[in-house]
Symmetry: C2
Subunit: 199 residues, 2 copies
Amino acid sequence: MLYVISAPSGTGKTTIRRRIEKIAPDIKYSISCTTRKPRPGEKDGVDYFFLDEDEFRNRISQGRFLEWANVFGNYYGTDRVYVEELVSQGYDVILDIDVKGASQVKARLSELITIFVLPPSMEELKKRLTKRRTESEEALEQRLKGAEKEIMLAPWFDYVVVNDILEEAVNNIISIIKSTRCRKENSRDVLKRFLDLLT
Amino acid sequence: MLYVISAPSGTGKTTIRRRIEKIAPDIKYSISCTTRKPRPGEKDGVDYFFLDEDEFRNRISQGRFLEWANVFGNYYGTDRVYVEELVSQGYDVILDIDVKGASQVKARLSELITIFVLPPSMEELKKRLTKRRTESEEALEQRLKGAEKEIMLAPWFDYVVVNDILEEAVNNIISIIKSTRCRKENSRDVLKRFLDLLT
């Protein structure tokens, strides 16, 4: 199965990701493609798949991206072939993308499960973003406004997870994935084994 | 939320129940009402609510049972008022009932989540039932036939959990309950808090 996790910045999605990657080896985060140049220490195929613009545009025209966007002149996108490969290997795959990307994927794949991560409150989100101190007051304000806009769209998601206590949030996300595996629609093979036997 | 867990006999539902009651204090198994006489050691309000026949029939006519049945002359049923009381206290409530009972409850409550527990295979089920050695060959055959009939109805349930490894089955059931709590429809209060703030 394929999952989207969207979370406004400051909600802790990177921490959640690291934790899930550590404790759930059967769940894989999808690696995005980008035309942005690698930063020091970033590795191709680990942090991103680094593509040149021709190749990226080529893939766009082939319809190879589940979602893509151009942010400040750099392209970012999720390669469909790569994701299908992971799914066919039996992994549950998480796309860590924003709300706009989520709606693009949802339009292409009906069987997608979407999860929105909320901060405990707007005050707490402000606190967390302020703590980073890596940004100007103005950039912080912009980030908060962006977060508010994204939160308005939370009701379009299938699930809502509040990241108050990290372990609980991670546990809830893993529960969503585990329970999806047990859905009747996803248990056809198991059921068929019995029903064949009974006829 | 209210859950039904149905499992053919021999699938390990009593073991699952004991385990869930031990590790998940916010999940309560519903206690059934019965007109059967208490066996030695059974306590009213713990094992069952023991009622006399007049009282039981009275409650049937009042529509107070979410489901009820008469098995070999004894009545069994789930009291709606008792269940609603547990739900209003914030518990997730599990009804440990058979497939027929499940369909009665489903007809009365649309918001019910139904879980069917499967044995790993029919051979394994036969083995587990034979191990008990408490029954005649004939009774065993009857039990197997009954299990087969119930398994035919598994596709009517929302979720299917295979009880191969106990801890995994229990974990999957708890995941189903946790993920249901995160469903958007059940997160209205959390979402409202943010959306009010943003308008």
